[in-house]
Assembly symmetry: C2
Homo-oligomer: 228 residues x 2
DNA sequence: TAGCATCTGATAGTATTACTTTTATTTTTG
DNA sequence: CAAAAATAAAAGTAATACTATCAGATGCTA
């Protein structure tokens, strides 16, 4: 698995960048260090000028890779969802039992990214934290419909669609498979955030994981609909 | 109900503002028109300078009410959650059946705000749209822990706590009442957003409401745990 | 290996944002 | 009516979010 992932290149809509950051050493340093900096200071306080200083390069050079920092965020979140999608597909495609398959999928989507599998220059542990804290900013904008049309969210949408299909495979009578799939994905991010900042608003902690919560939520819903 | 709400003043943590916007005509125009403008242009493009121009006042006068636009957003979202809380309490406190009570609560939390009950100078229809599009930006910041300590999110937290208690009243054995409550509230905003911008990621539309989805989700979870 | 293209870095410049400060004017209220 | 408070106007600052220009380094290619 790790071996497979090391040869993987997540393919991202090429309209998101001006020049592929994977195509050069500078591009990789931009990605590597933007992940570190956005984690440290948050997306709002992060600027290309600061990043340039950190990597010993120039603001104008970074602008040759990304139009603006919003596009960079789209790149990072797309990469994360693509990475998750690979994990999902590799881990579930050999499972024939539909319930087991969905259970595994929920586990992958909702778990905390803990080990640093050091995927090339990208630190997925830090990136997963960025996704928890910043993902919704990537689509809660006035340009969302335009950007959606251009395909900027296609990886994310494909991931939701995969979960949706797995839900349908478990219970084709269930009326809200897409809503349930999107609730798992966004809800997991939210529960992780609450765990870190609003512990009174969640039951999730070290023992009681978001995985457990969402697994029960989903299977209670799907079983009940069959039986009841 | 409408009569009651017209005499209502949502009380907001007084550290959020420098001067209470309810205390003057200018303050009310700031609130009224910021709601209109944030809806039109989105929170990122909204500035106090533009607002000043729109209300025929000066940027510097607005700064006497709010330190910055982030605080104004906290004010608006707090107001919204306070308004929802009132509706929740008024609509549910006479219901003794715990399931009926929770059902009503879910309805109030998840429904589309449609009629303009013209609460003074605040357009709740527009405000509810702002909450869908901008709410998460109010807490997905680097200052969240500091602001949480100062009580900036207390109304929101109290609302989640109310739903949590109702869930426990229905099924005291259920293991994730807080997570379920926070999932309903944030999940409802998310489903409304998807309905408007990513219709393939939700089953919610005109016929199939978020209320229906969440009502089923919650009661399937709570019933199953009792019975199974 | 000379020549050309491409990439990167440095500098400077612009418009806007997010304020702060000061001063003048208007409004309120005691 | 006078004093106090609120508001408006103007000017200033530092940072942001870029764009444009040019020079030097690197690399490939005939």
């Amino acid at each position: 698995m790790k071996f497979l992932l090391q040869n993987l290149k997540v393919s991202i809509n090429d309209k998101i960048y001006l020049k592929d950051p994977e195509s050069s050493a500078l591009g990789k340093r931009i990605i590597e260090n933007s992940i570190i900096m956005i984690n440290q200071m948050g997306f709002e306080n992060f600027t290309f000028k600061k990043l340039g200083k950190k990597i010993g390069s120039n603001e104008s050079s970074i602008y040759r890779y990304f139009e603006n920092k919003h596009k960079l965020l789209l790149y990072l979140t797309s990469w994360y969802w693509g990475w998750l999608e690979y994990q999902l597909v590799f881990s579930t495609n050999s499972i024939s039992n539909t319930k087991q398959k969905l259970k595994k999928a929920i586990e992958i989507i909702t778990r905390t990214v803990e080990e640093d599998s050091s995927f090339s220059h990208i630190n997925e542990v830090l990136l997963s934290k960025i996704v928890v804290n910043e993902n919704s900013k990537s689509y809660l904008t006035k340009q969302v419909d335009k950007e959606n049309k251009e395909g900027y969210f296609s990886i994310y949408k494909r991931l939701v669609a995969r979960i949706t299909d797995m839900i349908i495979d478990v219970n084709h009578k269930y009326k809200h498979p897409s809503s349930l799939a999107s609730t798992i994905i966004e809800g997991a991010l939210h529960q992780h955030f609450l765990k870190d900042h609003f512990s009174s608003l969640t039951d999730c902690n070290e023992e009681n994981s978001p995985t457990k919560y969402f697994t029960e939520l989903v299977f209670n819903s799907l079983n009940n609909t069959i039986n009841g």
